[in-house]
């Protein structure tokens, strides 16, 4: 398998988890680029082209709110978890834990079968 294919699969995997990561991080007010950096520091490299449409979608779904801050040197769009997002986050976290557990079990079973 080529490195490009592996990169693509990796990117798809990451794209799925960015939503829950962004929602969780946006308990605190952040602007788009700030979120890109925080995600990168946490090991989830995300491009603006992936993150910004996702933030817009979450905002349209009512999970996030946004506000332009024009007080600084340049305007910045800040995002924050909406009340609906606050209600949804624990449910999403629980779903994530279940998926994580299931995947770990599947991977462990795969390793055990290979070593037999």
């Amino acid at each position: 398998m080529s490195a490009t294919t592996l990169e693509k699969i990796g990117a798809e995997l990451r794209r799925g988890i960015v939503q829950i990561a962004a929602l969780s991080l946006l308990r605190e007010r952040m602007h788009g680029y700030q979120l890109v950096k925080v995600l990168a520091e946490a090991g989830i490299e995300t491009e603006e082209g992936t993150l910004y449409p996702l933030l817009r979608r979450l905002e349209n779904q009512g999970l996030l709110t946004s506000q332009w801050d024009t007080g600084g040197a340049r305007p910045r769009k800040y995002y924050l978890l909406a009340p609906e997002g606050e209600a949804a986050l624990p449910i999403l976290e629980e779903t994530w834990r279940q998926i994580n557990e299931s995947i770990n079990q599947i991977l462990k079973a795969g390793v055990a079968e290979t070593s037999q």
């Binding site: 602007h31 788009g32 680029y33 890109v36 491009e47 603006e48 082209g49 992936t50 910004y52 449409p53 817009r56 340049r74 305007p75 910045r76 769009k77």
Partner: protein, 323 residues
């Protein structure tokens, strides 16, 4: 910041904006957000001691291709959604086939046909190139017309509610609501404009001759035509709300049978022999035109009947599988 640096940034932003979909306000906001990001990144680089020109280059490189970024941030909505493209091609080809047959008929008759507000002009330059050029012209017109119809129906479709869950075997419930609305529209328009839409007009020495498209028994056939469309509309609503079932299949068989009967009746009424009334205007080609149109209608009726039979067997078999 130097003008050249500023130009490079704005050129990148303009390219991204050109690739964006959505409305103007959404685009403006997305571009402002991108611009803000660019300057944030630029500040980071210059604060780290990178020279301004190199910093701009680094930032724009890290953001990647402007067109791809614009498209990713705000994808352009296709005029025809991928799931509708198959129907779009089918309807366009069907319309083109009917349209072109009428033009061929007009060419053979050597006169213009009018189905107000549409006019079917004969092909002037009767050569392979002439036919080919006209076919392309007709295809482009029909494709454009269907594009507008699909676009409008699709946008209207968004207002319709989705049907509740059902053992739907054929198509999306929303598709049935769209079909029902379309049939209702045809029913209203066809009745309202019956003197224009359901008749063929021909010029002759004695004036304009009206040939009713529904045959000699125009009133009887119009009733039959209305019953058929009304039942077809009911069938689509049934499928939309209740999905596939044995009762729905029976209703479908009734509707389709009436449709074929209606078509056969039009052929049987030898409507096209009415062309005899316009024989003088058509001239020596009148028999050929009548025969061509009669054959076309008979073929359509036969093919429709065969397709109905095949589909009924297929669906009955699938229903049995579901049971």
């Amino acid at each position: 910041m130097s003008p050249a640096t500023n130009d490079a940034i704005h050129k990148w932003i303009d390219e991204a904006g050109a690739a964006m979909g959505g409305d103007a306000a959404e685009r403006k906001e997305a571009l402002l957000e991108l611009e803000s990001t660019i300057y944030e990144r630029l500040d980071e680089q210059t604060n780290a001691g990178v020279e301004e020109d190199a910093a701009v280059e680094n930032v724009l490189d890290s953001l990647g291709n402007a067109t791809e970024m614009g498209h990713a941030c705000m994808p352009q909505a296709p005029i025809i959604r991928p799931e509708l493209s198959r129907s779009f091609f089918m309807f366009t080809w069907a319309l083109f086939a009917v349209h072109f047959v009428l033009i061929i008929a007009a060419t053979m008759a050597g006169r213009e046909f009018a189905l107000p507000p549409l006019h079917f002009r004969p092909i002037e330059q009767q050569s392979v190139l002439g036919f080919f050029a006209r076919a392309i012209e007709v295809l482009l017109f029909d494709a454009g017309l269907m594009l507008v119809c699909f676009y409008c129906l699709d946008r209207l479709g968004g207002l319709w509610p989705a049907a509740r869950g059902s053992a739907q075997l054929t198509k999306n419930p929303r598709g049935h609501f769209e079909s029902a609305a379309f049939m209702l529209l045809v029913l209203v328009v066809a009745n309202f404009l019956r003197d224009n839409l359901l008749a063929l007009y021909m010029e002759s020495a004695s004036g304009t001759i009206q040939v009713p498209l529904l045959g000699e028994g125009f009133t009887d056939n119009l009733v039959l035509f209305n019953v058929w469309l009304g039942l077809a509309c009911a069938r689509e609503l049934w499928y939309g709300f209740r999905g596939e079932s044995r009762r729905a299949l029976v209703l479908d068989i009734v509707v389709r049978s009436i449709g074929v009967f209606c078509l056969m009746r039009i052929v049987a009424s030898q409507r096209l022999v009415d062309l005899a009334g316009a024989r003088e205007s058509i001239g020596p080609n009148a028999d050929t035109v009548a025969a061509l149109l009669n054959t076309a209608f008979s073929l359509i009726a036969l093919v429709t009947a065969a397709m109905i039979a095949v589909e009924i067997v297929r669906r009955a078999f699938r229903l049995r599988l579901v049971d």
